[in-house]
């Protein structure tokens, strides 16, 4: 039963947009980073595979900036769930016919919407410095980013379940999210990592997200990345199932 889902989702979009800092953080930062690094790499770039430019800010810049969007929505989701829980908002919503998963679905939909909007703003605002090759399948890439976001956001519910209070949500979230970002293969190829870190990277959704998004951007198509897509789907199912068990409403 999804009664109330659209009302709640639209309301959460409006409420999120009323918080200037949150809006600047989640939309502004990825856009600024994309433009800044886009300028640097556009000066250095001759071809899209210039070995002098680190891949994360060269060929992989759109992938890195896109994942930054996802990461900021992840941190924001953790903070919102923690605040809603601590303030008794979740408790109050639970005492209505609203089903628990409707509340969480609405939050995820809001995040996906803002992800898509930010991606569009980013590519449009940065097109002078980092023109997107017309062969890049942008629609497919957007879908891939939203697909990856689902897995990554389901990790957010797990993190939100373990943080004790809203005050700890941001630091703990950051502590988990940024190492995950570092191991994702964007900055150092996963194969070049020490064996122990490789093992860690293999169980983190971001690693598969990087591989999938990079492939789609280069036009390799979904069929060439079935393994990544399946890994992300499995992680989504597992993380959601674990979250549903350990999630605390108050």
């Amino acid at each position: 039963m999804l009664r109330g889902l659209w009302t709640l989702t639209w309301l959460e979009v409006k409420i999120f947009a009323r918080e200037p800092l949150g809006l600047i953080g989640s939309i502004g930062i990825p856009v600024v980073i994309f433009i800044t690094f886009g300028r640097i790499s556009s000066r250095a770039r001759v071809s899209s595979f210039n070995p002098d430019v680190p891949s994360a800010i060269g060929a992989d810049l759109p992938i890195m900036a896109s994942l930054l969007i996802t990461i900021s929505t992840l941190l924001s989701l953790i903070a919102i769930v923690a605040i809603y829980r601590e303030g008794g908002i979740l408790r109050r919503l639970r005492a209505t016919p609203l089903r628990p998963y409707t509340i969480l679905t609405a939050q995820v939909l809001v995040k996906l919407l803002f992800t898509a909007v930010t991606l569009a703003v980013m590519l449009l605002a940065g097109r002078r410095y980092y023109p997107v090759d017309p062969h890049v399948p942008l629609l497919s890439f957007t879908l891939a980013l939203l697909y990856c976001s689902l897995s990554i956001l389901s990790l957010g519910f797990l993190i939100a379940s373990v943080v004790p209070t809203a005050r700890f949500a941001q630091p703990i979230g950051t502590l988990i999210v940024y190492p995950m970002f570092g191991l994702s293969g964007l900055f150092v190829p996963v194969a070049a990592l020490p064996a122990a870190l490789q093992a860690v990277a293999r169980v983190l959704p971001l690693t598969y997200a990087v591989s999938l998004l990079r492939g789609i951007w280069r036009g390799e198509g979904w069929a060439a990345h079935t393994g990544d897509a399946v890994a992300l789907a499995v992680m989504f199912v597992v993380l959601t199932a674990v979250s549903a068990r350990v999630f605390r409403w108050e």
Partner: protein, 305 residues
């Protein structure tokens, strides 16, 4: 005979090793304001949340509007309204949006904007939740509890933290809910609130219900003592009053007499005596026990320990 809308028998709920409520039993009748009263930590909220489906009782039979809150929680939620202790809403949600959201959640909502007007929030309809005063927030929560035109409304510590003026305004609203034919189940640790608002109350302490009845019944049953203070310059008056059968003692302090006794007719008898003997009375004041005294007597401690 009015029907019972809530029937609780042998309710028990534990958190780990702590027994929050045990052997709690009471009935709530249709159309009344029923108060569960007791100090903080007595088990009021736990009991209420076992009734409205937010918690699952460990043991006991619970029937709310003929439904089992454990099994039929979603069917029950359509028919009840709930106000929770210390609940919050999103900081930047407006009054109108909150009422609109709640209206979207129920099958048969009432007109939200009329509800906002009835609760005196018309000029705050576009204000963010975070900017509302304590009393306004509670009025909004009452509005949300009434949006589905419920048969039964649960109110948990509704006026805690409000100033006396806001508290009185909220009491009037609660009486208005009863006036519309709904049943109200409320919890409070304020004895004055229970006395003024509730048709019947159950006193709960350390997770157990000690006694239940109308406030007047409870006072009569446990604290039958009455005190009358009379100021008079009639030297013979003390003797007349002592002769009244239900009077236990008369103390004189100058012209001020303190008459103590038991029974509902004590005051009547003192007044009759004054009239009969033509005693000139300068001042007359009665001191009647309250629920607060009942609570102290039954539990051995004051409610705000």
């Amino acid at each position: 005979m009015r029907q019972a809308v809530i029937q609780v028998a042998g309710l028990r709920k534990t958190y780990g090793r702590t027994v929050a409520v045990d052997e709690v039993s009471f009935d709530v009748l249709e159309g009344e304001i029923f108060g569960l009263i007791g100090p903080n930590g007595a088990g009021k909220t736990t009991t209420m949340e076992c009734l409205d489906g937010l918690r699952t009782a460990d043991r006991g039979r619970i029937s709310v509007l003929g439904l089992d809150p454990r099994r039929d929680v979603y069917a029950l939620q359509e028919r009840i309204g709930v106000q929770l202790q210390q609940a919050q809403l999103q900081k930047r949600i407006t009054v109108r949006e909150a009422v609109g959201l709640w209206a979207a959640l129920y099958r048969k909502p009432v007109d939200g904007s009329r509800l906002i007007e009835q609760l005196g929030l018309a000029d705050k309809r576009n204000a963010w939740f975070m900017t509302l005063s304590g009393g306004q927030k509670q009025r909004l929560f009452i509005a949300l509890a009434l949006i589905n035109d419920p048969e039964l409304v649960f109110l948990d510590e509704l006026t805690t933290g409000l100033d006396p003026q806001a508290r009185r305004a909220i009491w009037d609203l609660v009486r208005g809910i009863r006036h519309r034919g709904k049943t109200v189940f409320l919890t409070t640790h304020l004895m004055e609130e229970a006395e003024r608002l509730c048709d019947r109350v159950a006193i709960i302490d350390h997770g157990r219900v000690i006694d239940a009845g109308t406030p007047a019944e409870l006072v009569q049953r446990h604290c039958p003592e009455r005190t009358v203070h009379i100021a008079t310059d009639d030297a013979a008056a003390a003797g007349w009053f002592r002769a009244i059968p239900s009077v236990d003692s008369v103390e004189a302090d100058g012209s001020l007499l303190t008459i103590r006794g038991a029974g509902a007719d004590l005051v009547t008898r003192v007044i009759a005596c004054v009239a009969e003997r033509g005693i000139r009375v300068i001042d007359f004041r009665t001191e009647l026990p309250t629920l607060e005294d009942v609570f102290l007597k039954l539990t051995g401690h004051a409610i705000r320990d």
